[in-house]
């Protein structure tokens, strides 16, 4: 295995995980490593993973924070099943992350942290670094990051505690050496962030980063260096984007394209809060944001704004969705446009608030009393959140309906490179309101979309009343039996009519059918596509289809499903899409559930696929 120093091993992709205490800045170094890799032309995918506590006691297992990034010269769709290299800044980080490191993996540890107290906090009875097996099983690299940082910063005017906090960048510098990453984007980051305000800090971090990098050069145990070529991506301008950022941008873009002011009302909840926070910083786009007293209020405010003709949005996560359901029913019966984003997390109840799951699909479908169908779409990756926001707005405005947009914690927090769209290429979303020169009929419908005509307050002669009691076409309260049945059917037909506007579904693999179709939705896209791609390369007759529209399903889905001998549906829940597909198409799909608060691993999926095709 030994290689001549400084000779790079060319590899296709690699997975690095940084793990340490919540206070150790692991998210920051992870982000930097990602940026640097993206700028270097690799494709990337990331997985931040932090505890539910704000700052669990330092050094404890509960306080471990991690950040994993996969980068490569080919299309990277997931943050990777397991790290090739693990950086563990303290014993707790080692303890909770080591089980994920495959034998032979690179294990970088901060020896300074392996002191008695820290070991005890991590429930280690003996120092694991003294364990011979560890050395045998992994490529162990022991560095005293703490002291080496202190030495590197001997001249710095910073306080000792502040110096000590630079050790994460020392470690980052070392990993940059190992993976041949350029330092420049990170150095620029230091300048942008602290250059003006805290030049000493910028300087200290610069020194630490460089010292770490240089250490690699002088250290025997850093004997392997890896090189990853640029990924062959389409030409264009790229940026890194997280799902919540993409959602924010998509909503603002939709408001521009629809020529409607955006009003967002939300109540903080993990992992949806960054949407409220992001939009609050965009007031110069005419965006109004309200932090409501709760999720019910957020829905009510958004619905009020929708009544006045604004593009109205709220976002929350599962528990908040429970609270919105009564209002969603009102939005459905009054047929007002509204976008409701659910950034899913682990349930039920408060569940696992900082872990991932996609278990709110059936809730989205059925949380209301009565028959109250509404459209549902799901984003499949961080950048797809941008497109989904625009699609959700299109459906809401065109069909005058609340729309649920499903994202999840993994997509929301994870980041990937994004080919920045040209604003001039974005679709026109404008839909006219009722004409004040015509007689207004509240539930007069467009014959093709079945959408009702919306009139907005402030316009002369269009005064009218809406509400939650069943109405006849003219907008009067009606208890007429046949009218109720008719309106119920129309509300359903209208939602189904959305399918007429959907593009053909794109099967990845054998368009004409084959042995197995892996059907997915939401944030499992990367893992499913990677697994299917790998198996196809190996010659297996497997294909995949990833659904964006979950209600209604696209028209061609029935036909596609019928072309495959078997259908496998992997989901991070107990089989929710499965239930809908089985019921609708009467196909005996194989449901593959994982409910561990973690994304699918590509290997798990590959195994399941192989098992299914036997």
């Amino acid at each position: 295995m030994a290689q001549a120093k400084d000779s790079f091993i060319e590899i296709e992709s690699a997975v690095v995980r940084f793990a340490g205490d919540s206070g150790d800045g692991m998210q920051t170094v992870g982000e930097r490593f990602t940026d640097s890799s993206a700028f270097a032309g690799n494709d990337i995918a990331t997985l931040p993973d932090f505890p539910a506590e704000i700052r669990a006691p330092a050094g404890t297992l509960a306080g471990v924070s991690g950040f994993q990034v996969q980068f490569g010269s080919r299309e990277i769709l997931t943050p990777g099943d397991a790290p090739d290299a693990l950086v563990a800044m303290n014993p707790a980080a080692l303890k909770s992350n080591l089980p994920d490191l495959p034998a032979g993996g690179m294990l970088v540890v901060n020896t300074a942290a392996f002191k008695k107290m820290n070991l005890a906090k991590a429930d280690y009875e003996t120092n694991p670094l003294e364990d011979e097996d560890l050395r045998k099983k992994y490529h162990l690299v022991e560095i005293d990051f703490t002291n080496m940082t202190k030495e590197a910063l001997a001249e710095s005017p910073l306080k000792p505690t502040d110096k000590a906090r630079c050790k994460n960048f020392f470690a980052l510098g070392f990993m940059y050496y190992v993976y041949g990453r350029p330092l420049d984007t990170t150095l620029k980051f230091f300048q942008d962030k602290w250059g003006k305000r805290l030049p000493d800090l910028a300087e200290a971090n610069t020194l630490a980063l460089k010292a770490g990098f240089n250490l690699g050069d002088t250290m025997e145990s850093a004997r392997n260096r890896y090189q990853i070529a640029k990924a062959p991506v389409d030409a264009g301008v790229y940026r890194k984007i997280s799902g919540n950022e993409a959602l924010v941008y998509g909503l603002v873009a939709a408001s521009k394209q629809a020529k409607l002011e955006l009003l967002y009302a939300g109540y903080p909840i993990t992992p949806a809060s960054p949407i409220l926070e992001g939009l609050s910083a965009l007031k110069h786009f005419g965006v109004k944001t309200i932090q409501a007293e709760d999720e019910i209020a957020a829905m009510g405010m958004a619905l009020g704004a929708s009544f006045t003709g604004k593009l109205s949005v709220c976002a929350t996560s599962g528990p908040g969705m429970c609270l919105k359901s009564e209002f969603i029913g009102l939005a459905s019966i009054t047929e007002l446009p509204l976008i409701i984003c659910n950034i899913q997390r682990g349930g039920p109840s408060t569940g696992l608030p900082t872990k991932n799951e996609q278990s709110d699909l059936l809730q989205s479908m059925f949380s209301r009393n009565g028959d109250s169908p509404i459209p549902i779409i799901a984003a499949h990756s961080s950048s797809d959140c941008f497109d989904c926001a625009i699609e959700a707005a299109r459906i809401a405005i065109t069909y005058k309906t609340p729309v649920i947009l499903l994202s999840d914690l993994y997509i929301a927090n994870g980041a990937e490179p994004w080919l920045i769209p040209n604003v001039s290429d974005l679709p026109d979303l404008e839909v006219p309101f009722a004409d004040p020169n015509e007689d207004y009929v509240v539930y007069k419908r467009d014959p093709s979309t079945l959408a009702r005509d919306q009139a907005i307050p402030g316009q002369i002669g269009l005064e009218h009343r809406i509400g939650g009691l069943e109405k006849n076409e003219e907008g009067g309260v009606s208890y007429d039996p046949n009218n109720h049945e008719e309106m119920t059917r129309l509300r359903g037909d209208k939602v189904n009519a959305i399918a007429d506007s959907l593009p053909p579904s794109k099967v990845f693999g054998d368009v004409e059918g084959g042995d197995l179709l892996v059907l997915g939705w939401g944030g499992t896209y990367g893992a499913i596509t990677s697994a299917v791609r790998n198996l196809r390369t190996e010659g297996f007759p497997v294909s995949s289809l990833h659904l964006r529209n979950l209600n209604p399903f696209p028209h061609d889905l029935c036909n596609i499903l019928s072309k495959f001998k078997k259908v496998l549906i992997p989901e991070l829940n107990m089989g929710q899409l499965s239930l809908l597909i089985r019921s609708k198409y009467l196909i005996d799909v194989v449901s593959y559930s994982k409910v561990q608060g973690q994304p699918f691993k590509v290997a798990e999926l590959s195994n399941k696929i192989l098992e299914t095709i036997r």
Binding site: K288, I290, A297, G300, F327, V423, E463, R465, G467, G468
Partner: protein, 344 residues
């Protein structure tokens, strides 16, 4: 082609606000009088008809929007304050009126009402207090008296009631008033004052439910009792009441007491003088505790605090300030951000 009906030449009148729908409250319900008062008030406010929006929750009272020929939204139980906030923030030019009941506003909807009031958008809140659940056929409400026997409290209720005015004061209200369905003139005056106030106006309206809680306010507002049991607040005037206007309210420390003028040397100058503009809420709080039978019940404007910004104008100002500071948002620049890279 419809034309605007505003301005002098084309003055609005009551009929303009009568919706085509049949009004379906019980014959004799106090809600009719309130509807009437609002339909008389609106034409006199100088607001074009198409700018009115009436938002309500659920309850007999909350059917109100259906009977007003304006834009209207009959929402869900207890949530009208949220919809009203959304309407007002989205379009501050609209004149937003919210109708709620003692159950809708103070039982299920108390929290939204609290937050509406403290945020202070320019919304006029009419709380129809009949001390009962009308629409669900007669259970006690949060304003029902202790010991009240209703369908759900066959041996009497044990919940200490909410005082709507004290609640509003506790919610940092900038305008608190009380009126009664029995007093058309006073209702119209009060509604006009509420409209004039910039910020959330909270009005408790004593309302009679003939079916499930008939004459609940009779001891206070009934023809016979009114002059002895009602106290009409007038700005800058001492708190005087009684058929012969010979009684008044005096304080003793923080304890109010009823005194008779020219008895034991009491004169008008000993009485509390009504001042709805004290910034400390102690005075209106004290007033809110004057209740039948120990005290005459006050009607009128308890509190009217000027100068607190309305929520919608603060929101608008931040938008305007951001635009002038950062320039009108450039979507392409936003999408591109500061850390993009080019692949060729």
């Amino acid at each position: 082609m419809k034309t605007a009906v505003t301005g002098e030449e084309n003055a609005l009148n009551k009929k303009d606000f009568v919706a085509p729908n049949d009004v379906r409250w019980c014959p004799g319900c106090g809600d009719y009088a309130i509807l009437n008062a609002i339909q008389r008030t609106f034409p006199e406010l100088g607001v074009p008809k198409e700018k009115f929006v009436v938002v309500s929750g659920i309850g007999c009272s909350s059917r109100f929007p259906y009977y007003m020929n304006t834009y209207g939204f009959h929402t869900i139980h207890g949530r009208a304050p949220t919809v009203a906030t959304g309407v007002k923030v989205a379009n501050p030019e609209l004149s937003v009126w919210m109708v709620t009941g003692d159950g809708d506003g103070l039982s299920i909807g108390g929290n939204h009402l609290l937050h509406l009031i403290r945020r202070n958008p320019d919304v006029n809140v009419l709380l129809f207090n009949n001390r009962i659940y009308g629409l669900t056929k007669g259970q006690y409400s949060p304003t029902s008296e202790v010991g009240k026997k209703t369908k759900s409290t066959p041996v009497g209720s044990v919940d200490y009631p909410v005082n709507p005015l004290l609640f509003a004061l506790g919610s940092e209200s900038t305008f608190v008033a009380r009126t009664s369905d029995t007093d058309m003139k006073h209702m119209v005056e009060t509604f006009k004052a509420a409209h004039a106030h910039k910020g959330t106006s909270f009005i408790e309206i004593f309302q009679n439910c003939v079916i499930y809680n008939n004459k609940t306010w009779e001891p206070v507002t009934g023809r016979e009792s009114k002059s002895e049991q009602s106290l009409f607040l007038e700005e800058g005037k001492p708190l005087v009441f009684g058929a012969e206007r010979n009684k008044g309210i005096r304080v003793n420390g923080f304890d109010p007491e009823v005194v008779t003028l020219s008895e034991n040397g009491v004169s008008e100058s000993d009485l509390l003088v009504h001042n709805s503009k004290t910034s400390n809420p102690a005075y209106p709080t004290l007033l809110s505790q004057l209740n039948y039978p120990t005290f005459p019940t006050p009607f009128g404007v308890f509190r009217q605090l000027e100068g607190r910004q309305t929520y919608e104008s603060a929101v608008d100002q931040q938008v305007a300030a951001s635009k002038s500071k950062q320039g009108e948002g450039d979507l392409q620049a936003l999408l591109t951000g500061s850390d993009s890279w080019v692949v060729e």
